[in-house]
């Protein structure tokens, strides 16, 4: 019995026999011990629970999203560096084939679903309610639940790396390879459940923010007066609402194939693997626009603030965002032109894909015209924005090249494609979210990040990016395809691959600079006391930094765009600031531990499904249901902040000025 258990633990449960993974296992164990020790030694457990794990405050949820996302960025980045080391020279023996497969799979999943998505949701949470003059999102409890579902889903996916083995079938897990016959291990089940659980959270966030934007705007703020970031969030979240249910179903069908022996995507008994590829891309293509649209919104805010001009072409910008959101649902088949759908189908999807370039081009010109004759300040957020424009244009152009269906028979799955989507994802999404992070950091924490180190990081990221990915375009045209773990000497791919690897490490150095930048800024804290760090234009800059729990002591009365900027202009002209109405008690949601506990039960159930342990599945699912019922029966879920308390808080915050 004991021997059986030991055999199971060493042979099946824990991943053994790889020095890299063994090192990680030791590091993970040590980190957990260290965290537990620190929390216990400084008596911080209760603080962690009451202030963070049970919070429903959108600002704190946003902070947690961003912390999680940066950790995942580190992990996904290490994966990327390992791959580049393996590819630096022909016939290296650094990573073996199956290990390499696991690494490119986890790299893709983590970077898109557990890095880009949470960073995006973190920025949504922090900025959006402040921008539209709301005190919280529409459903604060659901918001907390979304975060914890994401968190435990990500944990479930990440644990596969040391327990049971990572998935190794590519980031979208195409069947039949991801089916039971060809992937009998548990890695694929970790993939399904990790993404499924966090996907439910993403869907809920989408609904939550659409409701927030449509129903929670400050009095007087019309839709066409909203800041552009709010529009981009709306476009992105509407896309989430229509795309994510497809992902839920697709993963569920794959799960049924693996767990109950269904035949949706198998090669026998009438299954159709191509249907999976269609379904997954019906979600997957909108997904990549979901992550880029908010970045467009951030660039619009940043350009307008640092050029000190109002955004050029507001209406065309809104139209572009919304049309990209709609068109994203009509381009999915361009991911498999080589599937053999026939010329007419391919032509349709090629044209819809090219159409996307039009609104995107409109946006680029709008940003350029916003900068035109502006008095530009080159702070870090603006640098990222300026670097983004050429980068995204090149990435977009190669995208249009790829969208030509006949040409795609050559480009398909080559490094040309890899370079293209990394260029739009790094040059668009990552640069955009960094710009947003630097831009709103002072609003969130009340101090700016160190500009000098930020510029070092910026240049390393940018130069590293071009050094890494420009050679890959050429490699793709030379015939190098993705998902190889080694190649021969006679291919002539070595020089460019070495250059590419050097670029990847430059980006790694850039990340170290960013960590250093954050640490340095915290150590030499320079408080930013005005609440308006960049001389901003929108409502979030009109309140103290960091904002109080209720955000706005009095809900702002808005008319027109850029309200905070206009108000500052009026005061500068010597007009009286508008008279303030008396304060009223503020209605706020109470903290709740249910989101955390319920998501943890989802994790338990998911872990049980992975190993097919009924004794774990049943309590997990029962726990989820019980949590839902407890929430349904609790009626005491909110409280009022008294006028005296608001006055005290405001005096403390404003007194700092």
């Amino acid at each position: 019995m004991l021997n059986d258990l030991k055999d199971f633990l060493l042979n099946d449960f824990f991943v053994t026999g790889d020095p890299l993974i063994l090192g990680s296992q030791v590091a993970i164990a040590l980190s957990i011990v260290a965290i537990v020790f620190v929390l216990t030694y400084f008596k911080k457990w209760k603080w962690l629970w009451t202030e963070w794990l049970t919070t429903v405050d959108h600002k704190r949820i946003g902070i947690m999203y961003i912390i999680a996302s940066l950790l995942m960025l580190f992990r996904g980045g290490v994966d990327a560096l390992l791959m580049r080391v393996q590819l630096a020279a022909p016939q290296l023996e650094f990573l073996h084939a199956d290990h390499y497969n696991q690494i490119f799979t986890t790299h893709g999943v983590i970077m898109i679903l557990f890095m880009a998505m949470p960073l995006m949701f973190g920025l949504f949470n922090i900025v959006l309610p402040l921008q539209i003059g709301a005190r919280d999102v529409a459903y604060p409890f659901l918001n907390a639940l979304s975060f914890w579902l994401f968190f435990w889903g990500a944990m479930l996916f990440n644990v596969s790396f040391v327990i049971g083995g990572s998935p190794d079938t590519g980031w979208l897990a195409y069947p039949p390879l991801s089916g039971l016959q060809l992937s009998p291990g548990v890695g694929q089940d970790f993939y399904i459940w990790g993404i499924q659980i966090s996907g439910i959270g993403s869907l809920a966030t989408g609904i939550n923010f659409v409701a927030t934007i449509l129903k929670m705007r400050a009095p007087g703020m019309k839709l066409m007066d909203m800041p552009m970031f709010a529009w981009s969030v709306l476009a992105s979240c509407v896309t989430i609402m229509f795309a994510f249910p497809i992902l839920t179903v697709t993963l569920f069908l794959l799960f049924l194939d693996r767990y109950l022996g269904a035949h949706f995507f198998t090669l026998d008994a009438g299954g159709n693997p191509m249907m999976y590829i269609n379904l997954i891309w019906m979600w997957g293509h909108p997904e990549v626009y979901i992550v880029i649209l908010p970045a467009f919104g951030i660039f619009s805010e940043v350009v307008s603030t640092f050029a000190r001009k109002k955004l050029f072409g507001y209406k065309s910008m809104v139209f572009a965002l919304m049309s990209i959101s709609v068109a994203s649902f009509f381009t999915w088949a361009h991911h498999f032109f080589t599937m053999g759908s026939g010329a007419n189908v391919n032509a349709f999807f090629a044209i819809t894909t090219m159409i996307i370039a039009i609104p995107t081009g409109v946006k680029v010109f709008n940003w350029l015209f916003t900068m035109f004759r502006g008095r530009i300040t080159f702070s870090t957020p603006m640098l990222w924005t300026i670097a983004f424009i050429p980068c995204f244009v090149i990435g977009g152009m190669t995208g249009v090249l790829l969208s030509v269906a006949p040409a795609d028979f050559q480009f398909h799955n080559s490094y040309f494609l890899i370079a293209h989507f990394h260029q739009v994802l790094i040059g668009g999404v990552v640069f955009g979210y960094f710009a947003g992070l630097y831009y709103w950091w002072p609003k969130l924490f009340g101090f700016k990040l160190h500009e000098g180190l930020g510029k070092w990081a910026f240049w390393f990221w940018n130069i590293g990016f071009y050094v890494c990915f420009m050679p890959q375009y050429v490699l793709g045209l030379m015939g190098m395809t993705r998902r190889f773990n080694e190649y021969d000497f006679d291919m002539g791919w070595q020089p460019l691959n070495i250059v590419s690897t050097v670029g990847a490490f430059l980006m790694g150095i850039a990340f170290i600079f960013q960590v250093w930048q954050i640490a340095h800024s915290i150590k030499f804290l320079k408080k930013e006391k005005t609440g308006d760090a960049w001389d901003g234009r929108t409502l979030e800059w009109s309140i103290p930094s960091p904002p109080p729990v209720y955000n706005f002591a009095r809900l702002p009365q808005v008319s027109g765009r850029d309200p905070w900027w206009e108000e500052k202009q009026r005061i500068a002209r010597g007009e009286q600031p508008s008279p303030l109405p008396p304060l009223e008690p503020i209605h706020m949601p109470k903290n709740s531990g249910i989101p955390f506990i319920m998501s943890f039960f989802w994790f338990v159930a998911g872990f049980g499904f992975v190993w097919d342990w009924k004794w774990m599945i049943i309590p997990g699912l029962a726990g989820v249901v019980i949590c839902m019922l407890i929430r349904s029966f609790s009626y005491d879920t909110d409280y009022y902040i008294s006028v005296e308390e608001i006055e005290r808080t405001e005096a403390k915050l404003r007194g700092a000025y």
Binding site: I246, F252, A269, G270, G271, L555, G560, P581, Y635
Partner: protein, 217 residues
Amino acid sequence: MAHATISGAPAHGGQGSVPPGHHVQGGHDEHHDHESLKTFGFWMFLITDCILFGTLFATYLVLRFNTSGGPTAEELFQMPIIIAETFILLTSSFTSGLAVLEMKKGNKKGLIGWLAVTAALGAAFIALEVSEFVHLVHEGATISTSAFLSAFFTLVGTHGLHVTVGLVWMIALMIQLAQRGITPVTDRKVTIISLYWHFLDVVWIFVFSLVYLLGVM
């Protein structure tokens, strides 16, 4: 462009001009707003649920002839049971509507009574569906027989699972109504579950037409 302004929103009888139709914070309408916001969110959830079922329907329609030598729709479906299920579910939709009407009248007893009838009809529907599935499995038509049956069981089973969740939810709601009576909060909860119930009915009509009627044609 009009000049933008910011000021605090005036309170009840506060100084300053209140534009027409302007929502005043605090006061009695806040609670109502709070509840209608949740109903609005539920409508959006139903949109996403439509997409979910739409994906399952598409899957079924793609795979429905892939019987791989196993039993076909014509051989399997017993229409009398299906028609009975359909009538039971349609009736339950009607009774849930009656429950909401009683709520609008402020009649707590009638509300709980009609909800109980709705739940009983829902339970009967589930019982029939389970017996149908058991019968199919005995015939040797399981989820792993062919792609057609995988898609069939998944689509119809997902709808059944939705109904089951609705039953648990409805029972929990009846207990809350007995405890608290009709308040703005319970009013909203009943409104939402009746939306959900009608939605499942609409989905069932699609199941009935696209799966069963199309299957036996």
